[in-house]
């Protein structure tokens, strides 16, 4: 294995599969955006960095909480008789309740008593890391059903130190992952890959004819129209292969939610690829 590459081992007799994916975008705001604690927190947060507050957003009460956004979708995603062992929240932009353990709160919206936690500080790669951790919990016998929650909200209550893509709308994606016979999902991540598009093309080719390949904005456009051996060019007849909407964190996964039922029905393997240009992290997800 090349230095800098972390690749998971071959799948065992059963794997973890994404069996349902739900995506939703939201308008509106959370009442917690007017909580005086938010102003205290962000004031203390930016002070050492000399960044100005967005007084307009703080006084208007703009922004949403991941708990409020995701709770309803979790209720739709899981039946009462489907207990969850693991709930992982992944995010990039901060919650409007930045100090709150939202993943624990969300664990009350699913059946069972899952271990809940959150991953962050990895840009768009955090979504892939959450799935990887879910698969590793399954592999090590700690989980048969996991829920990965991906969330982003629009408001940053200070002026960032560098230009940053913020989502146009609040959005949540819920990925229900369940144990199933055969190979499960596979996540590969590498930091500092010199040619990320080539790496994605190679992975796509390995999946064989008919593979669906979807990538995020971090990769060059041509990566989704794979003409190399074994991979099929993606026709511009639907969401597949198109640039995701202006939802930097959840857009790729909303595409998955939209298309997964069709791809499953057609028996197509799927490759999702994301490249966080800021951190140089390439992540891929293979769904057999």
């Amino acid at each position: 294995m090349a230095p800098g590459t972390t690749d998971r081992a071959a799948p065992g007799p059963s794997g973890l599969r994404i069996t349902r994916a739900l995506a939703r975008r939201f308008d509106g705001r959370s009442e917690t955006s007017l909580d005086p604690d938010l102003r205290v927190f962000v004031s203390d947060l930016v002070r050492p960095h000399g960044l100005p507050l967005r007084e307009d957003l703080l006084s208007e009460g703009v922004g949403h909480s991941y708990e409020e956004l995701a709770a309803g979708l979790l209720g739709e995603a899981l039946a009462e008789d489907e207990p969850v062992d693991l709930l992982i929240l992944a995010f990039d932009t901060p919650d409007v309740r930045p100090g709150a353990p939202s993943s624990l709160a969300l664990s009350r919206s699913v059946p069972g008593t899952p271990l809940a936690f959150a991953v962050c500080d990895q840009g768009t790669a955090a979504a892939f890391t959450a799935l990887r951790l879910a698969a590793d919990h399954h592999r090590t016998g700690a989980c048969r059903r996991a829920v990965v929650v991906l969330a982003e909200q629009t408001a940053l209550h200070y002026v960032p130190s560098a230009p940053v893509a913020l989502p146009e709308r609040h959005a949540v994606v819920v990925l229900v992952c369940e144990e199933a016979p055969g190979a499960g999902l596979t996540v590969r991540q590498r930091t500092g890959a010199p040619a990320p598009e080539e790496a994605v093309r190679a992975e796509a080719a390995a999946l064989g004819p008919g593979a669906e390949v979807v990538s995020d904005d971090g990769l060059a456009a041509e990566v989704v129209s794979v003409d190399g051996p074994g991979a099929e060019a993606v026709p511009d007849d639907g969401l597949a292969g198109r640039r995701p909407p202006a939802q930097p964190f959840t857009g790729l996964w909303a595409t998955l939610a939209e298309c997964l039922p069709r791809w499953r029905a057609e028996g197509r393997p799927v490759l999702l690829a994301g490249y966080d240009r800021r951190l140089g992290v390439l992540s891929t997800l293979t769904l057999p």
Partner: protein
Amino acid sequence: MCDPAGVGILARVTALEAVAVHLPPHAVPIEAVGERIGLTPRQLRLFRRFHGLDQLRLDPAGTLPDLLDAALDDLPELRGRERDVRFVIHARSMPVAVPHPLNPLHELLAARGLGHANAFTVTHHACAVGLLAIDLAGRLLASEPDPAALALVLAGEKTFTRDAQVVPETGIFAEGAAACLVSAAGERHRVLSYEVRQRPEFDGRLAEDPDLLARYQREYPNVMVEAIEAALDQAGLDLSDLSAILPHNVNQASWRMIARRIGYPVEKVVLDNVRSVGHSFAADSLINLHTATTRGLLRRGDHYLIAAAGVGATFSAMAVRY
């Protein structure tokens, strides 16, 4: 969790290869901090006389990466093995520590020759998140084909806002930091079990909700004991098998009460750092492990238990064999 004992954690190795600690040289009496953050004399008396707090290690001029970097400076076992580090996990109590999109963790790693590693932060377990990070490191390494593969767990935070300065009527935060190398093949400090109990009903503003605070304080020892007993059961150990309990450094009173409750000698609960260091978020367990090993409180083959609780609320315990 499903079937954690049979096919899970006991069927793989999670070993703590090396632990390094950075304690900022600046030791401040709790009264000095209390005055700055608005604690009343009565609250400070409670912290000193009842909870057993004394001084806090702080680094007023230092940044978050300064803390973590200093811990790495004291980890000679890392040198020359940087390319073996596949994962770096920052175990962080506060979900947000710097303004978005700054990412000092990745900048630090790049400067230390660790820029190739898959690095992220794990959070939402508050001060119990260090145990989660160790467990995640073990699970990630279990999928690595290279037996030399390592994970690096970092812990340490700045006391930059009130929620990162004080837990009402419970503890005051400090800025100790720690770094821990984790492997899937090491012989020492092998993790035998990890148990978590979560009580999201205690998420809220403890400082402004006396009823919530009272319920949390009432339930706290019960749930902590439940997690400890579950970790011992999963590891096949009894309390009498433990040479030490390594707590989080929130205060002495709660751990004295828990020790009495479970019938464990309080002198074998490593509480020294509560007075001399303060509650350094998720770094406490590793700081206390460092203390226990350097002072000879633990010897090869000894069993010990790491235990921690975090607001929100998470209660975790991990049994380990040295």
